[in-house]
């Protein structure tokens, strides 16, 4: 009740800014915004749904003046709790700001609002034979604002990099409500500090991205999809470096381990070979280029002990393999009630060590780990299949989760390749970077957001 009274005048002002239908305050409405795709939850006091930049700026200014925390949210698909309103306050739901403002074939760029759904953008760009390379698995739901704020990746990150590599410029509403422009609309820009990259991956803690200029590529002319199986998980891991040494960077290079293959076969009624590891690899480019590189890749795979090395001959076979990879996550959901999705990343040279450690940790803690992932860029998803309603099992899973992250750091890797830190990995950030580096992050946060209103309590950067 006290809370309600405190927010009463703020609610009235918000209604004036965005219209009453875009301010949600009923318990059931707030409840729907109390969770994202992680296991965390916290109730907001208000949800507000702006539809243009000016509205966002006015909302943030009001919140800053009233010292009310703000949590920006796209589609709430993140896996780390980044969209959870940990300190209550206002959730700013940006999913209604979903216009593609421009697709420019001459300048190879698109300008979008943050709420555009990734798959919608991909479909629209394909009409012009263009694409934006980052391709998170949550494409059908996730919004561009979220992909940028978390620097999402996906399968194509191997050849093309993650979101931060494909954004030219941003418009950001700062925690004081002022609007700034970062980067440029040009393909090159060396002017001033690279604020674009600072806000990309800022997890909604430094401001709200309200517009983005994204860099595009023409869709490649041709694509060859190759698969191969391995008796040893580790030799599948070592294959990556050997392909690089042969002078080739595939578009995607995915790995599925045995538990994952079994789950997918059962789920999709497919007959993928149930080996210890399956590699799915794409080469894109011109037809001649693809043919030449594919031959080389196949030779390296055979040399590394791969069996059943073959190319997808038909479009259907190609699609089936892609569906198999995409179905890995749903298939695992059938095994256990809770799936802890990990996204550690190690240098390619350490892949086989990391894969070995994952197997050891699975045995050590007695938890089922099904590993799949973007092996080509060293980004693995050792998914811990567990049950969060069983406290004993959950404790073991969490210990295993932590030790997997620590192993990645030890091997010179990172605790997150594409999902971010949020709440889930807040305690591990300092382990990865050391105290001084995290202090720099804290200082940046303080300079930009002295009242600590933007998504407070995340990333281990303070209250």
């Amino acid at each position: 009740m006290i809370r309600k009274r405190k927010f009463k005048s703020v609610i009235q002002k918000l209604r004036r800014i965005v219209g009453p239908q875009n301010v949600l305050t009923a318990a059931e409405e707030l409840y729907c915004y109390s969770r994202d795709s992680s296991s965390f939850s916290a109730m907001p006091d208000i949800v507000v749904r702006p539809h243009d930049v000016r509205q966002v700026a006015r909302i943030v200014k009001l919140a800053n003046r009233s010292l009310i925390p703000i949590t920006p949210r796209g589609a709430g698909t993140n896996l780390t709790g980044a969209a959870i309103p940990l300190r209550g306050g206002i959730v700013v739901d940006l999913s209604g700001m979903n216009r593609i403002l421009e697709i420019d074939r001459t300048n190879l760029r698109t300008i979008v609002e943050p709420g555009v759904v990734h798959a919608d953008l991909e479909r629209e760009l394909a009409k012009y034979r263009l694409f934006w390379p980052p391709d998170p698995a949550s494409t059908d739901a996730c919004t561009i604002g979220g992909v940028l704020a978390e620097s999402g990746g996906g399968m194509r990150a191997l050849k093309y990099g993650t979101a931060r590599d494909w954004v030219l410029g941003l418009e950001v509403v700062l925690p004081n409500g002022k609007l700034i422009r970062t980067g440029s609309q040009t393909l090159k820009c060396a002017s001033g500090f690279d604020l674009t990259r600072l806000f990309t991956r800022s997890e909604g803690m430094l401001g709200i991205i309200v517009k983005a200029v994204l860099k595009l590529r023409p869709l490649p002319e041709s694509l060859i999809r190759i698969t191969g199986t391995y008796d040893e998980l580790e030799s599948a891991g070592s294959t990556v470096g050997k392909i690089f040494e042969a002078g080739i960077v595939p578009t995607i290079m995915e790995i599925l381990d045995k538990p994952t293959i079994e789950a997918v076969n059962k789920f999709l009624k497919l007959k993928l070979p149930e080996a210890n590891a399956l590699i799915i690899l794409d080469i894109d480019g011109t037809e001649e280029e693809c043919e030449k590189l594919a031959k080389k890749v196949e030779a390296v795979m055979v040399e590394m002990g791969a069996k059943n090395v073959r190319r997808a001959a038909t479009a259907k076979e190609m699609e089936d393999l892609y569906s198999a990879r995409k179905a890995a996550f749903p298939a695992l959901c059938q095994l256990k009630p809770t799936i802890l999705i990990e996204d550690i990343t190690v240098p390619v040279s350490e892949l086989s060590s990391m894969l070995k450690r994952i197997q050891e940790l699975s045995r050590k803690y007695g938890v089922l780990i099904a590993t799949l992932g973007h092996v080509g860029d060293g980004n693995l998803h050792p998914n811990i299949c567990t049950d969060d309603s069983n406290p004993e099992e959950w404790r073991r899973a969490m210990k295993c989760f932590r030790e997997i992250c620590e192993s990645a750091i030890e091997l010179g890797g990172t605790i997150s390749g594409e999902h971010g830190i949020g709440i889930a990995k807040a305690a591990l950030l300092e382990e990865e970077y050391g105290r001084e580096a995290v202090k720099v992050m804290r200082d940046i946060k303080r300079v930009l957001d002295p009242n600590n209103i933007m998504n407070p309590g995340k990333m281990g950067l303070g209250a």
Binding site: E28, Y31, C32, S37, D93, S138, C333, Q334
Partner: protein, 395 residues
């Protein structure tokens, strides 16, 4: 006003409800979410959260919450992208059932329809004696008992009567020994089931309807209504055990008649058409091919498939009691389907196999001023049989 909800009918879904990881994959499929500006509280994931909140007593069954639970066409599209395969439509129906038992549902619009069903045995409140008025006099002589019984359903009896007339004509010309219940036919209970009023269907409508049909000696019941079909095919047996007759959708029955050459198409029907999969026929019962096979058997027809078809077919917006509670929004969902998927195929007509889809599309065509014909499958077949000239011609 915290009350201990205890939602026993949801017990069987409890584990499933908690297994929702809120991945959001359902967000791209929900026709209502799209119409409600992607607001989380109207997403399938949001509905599951609301139900979870009810189960855990964190939420009260407020009017607003009830409205959100009823803002679902039960189209089952979300099921097709859900990683843990949550049958959100079933969970929503079970929740509605609980809310009805608590006395906080169904919403006002549905209560009005329920009382019309109680008094006139149809959701429109039309006089029950007028139920068989669609039947033309020269065709009204049907046997009391027959092998096959055509179940028209309320929508075709009172609103989309062209479907009922076409079906009867086709059956006559094919020489099928069939009958209808006529004035004795009543509500199958589909509307009541979708809106959470299962108990009355179980205790009354299912028993009464099955007994009436059995009395007519029918071994096969044919219906052209996707809603009636699902009710007869799935839900009556759930309630009563195996029925004393087989239940077929008209698309299946027509497919059989075509195969057995009991109906033929003498002339070419030069027409470009596409097919809209009704949710309750397609995603709910996996009947995708029979209507397509029937259409493709018609000479001259140019059939073009929509990008979103079969399991991915977009909902017309009429199902689950949604049309009656939210008529404006329901028609705008139909407009989405036509604009986004049907019109890009540049067809003369969209054919479907459910009178609810027909009605909603017709309203959408009218509202949007579109140049498009909407046909129920029996109408198209009758037209293609080339016997009748009274039906409007198709350009």
């Amino acid at each position: 006003m915290k009350r201990n909800l205890k939602l026993p009918a949801l017990k069987q879904y409890e584990e499933k409800i908690y297994s929702c990881m809120r991945c959001g994959f359902c967000r791209s499929t929900c026709p209502i979410l799209l119409k409600r500006d992607m607001e989380e509280t109207f997403s399938p994931r949001g509905r599951i959260l609301l139900i979870r909140g009810l189960m855990s007593n964190e939420l009260d069954p407020s009017t607003r919450l009830v409205e959100k639970i009823y803002s679902c066409t039960t189209c089952r599209h979300c099921y097709s992208t859900c990683p843990p395969r949550l049958e959100i439509d079933r969970i929503v129906e079970a929740t509605r059932n609980q809310l009805v038992k608590l006395g906080v549902a169904p919403p006002k619009a549905h209560r009005a329809i329920t009382s019309k069903i109680e008094s006139e045995n149809n959701p429109f409140g039309e006089p029950k004696n007028a139920r068989a008025r669609w039947l033309e006099s020269e065709e009204s002589v049907l046997p009391e008992k027959a092998e096959v019984l055509y179940w028209a359903g309320c929508m075709a009896s009172y609103r989309t009567q062209a479907t009922a007339r076409a079906t009867v004509r086709i059956l006559k010309h094919a020489g099928v020994n069939f009958t209808i219940l006529g004035k004795e036919e009543g509500c199958c209970g589909s509307f009541l089931l979708r809106t959470g009023q299962r108990d009355v269907v179980e205790n009354k409508y299912a028993k009464v309807n099955v007994a009436k049909i059995a009395d007519r000696g029918a071994k096969t019941v044919v219906t052209a209504c996707a809603g009636c079909f699902r009710t007869f095919h799935d839900e009556y047996p759930e309630m009563l055990g195996t029925l004393p007759f087989e239940v077929l959708h008209v698309s299946q029955y027509l497919e059989g008649l075509v195969k057995a050459r009991r109906i033929g198409f003498s002339k070419e029907l030069t027409m470009k058409v596409t097919y809209h999969d009704p949710c309750h026929l397609g995603r709910h019962l996996s009947i995708y091919e029979p209507p397509r096979n029937v259409m493709n058997a018609i000479p001259g027809i140019v059939f073009s498939e929509m990008v979103k078809s079969h399991e991915e077919s977009r909902c017309c917006g009429a199902g689950g009691g949604f049309r009656s509670a939210f008529p404006e929004l329901s028609v705008s969902v139909a407009m989405d389907r036509l604009k986004l998927d049907v019109l890009p195929t540049s067809v003369d007509a969209v054919v479907t196999a459910c009178p609810f889809c027909v009605k909603n599309f017709e309203d959408a065509v009218k509202r949007g001023g579109m140049r498009l014909q909407v046909l129920d499958l029996p109408e198209l077949v009758w037209k293609a049989m080339g016997i009748d000239r009274s039906l409007p011609s198709v350009a």
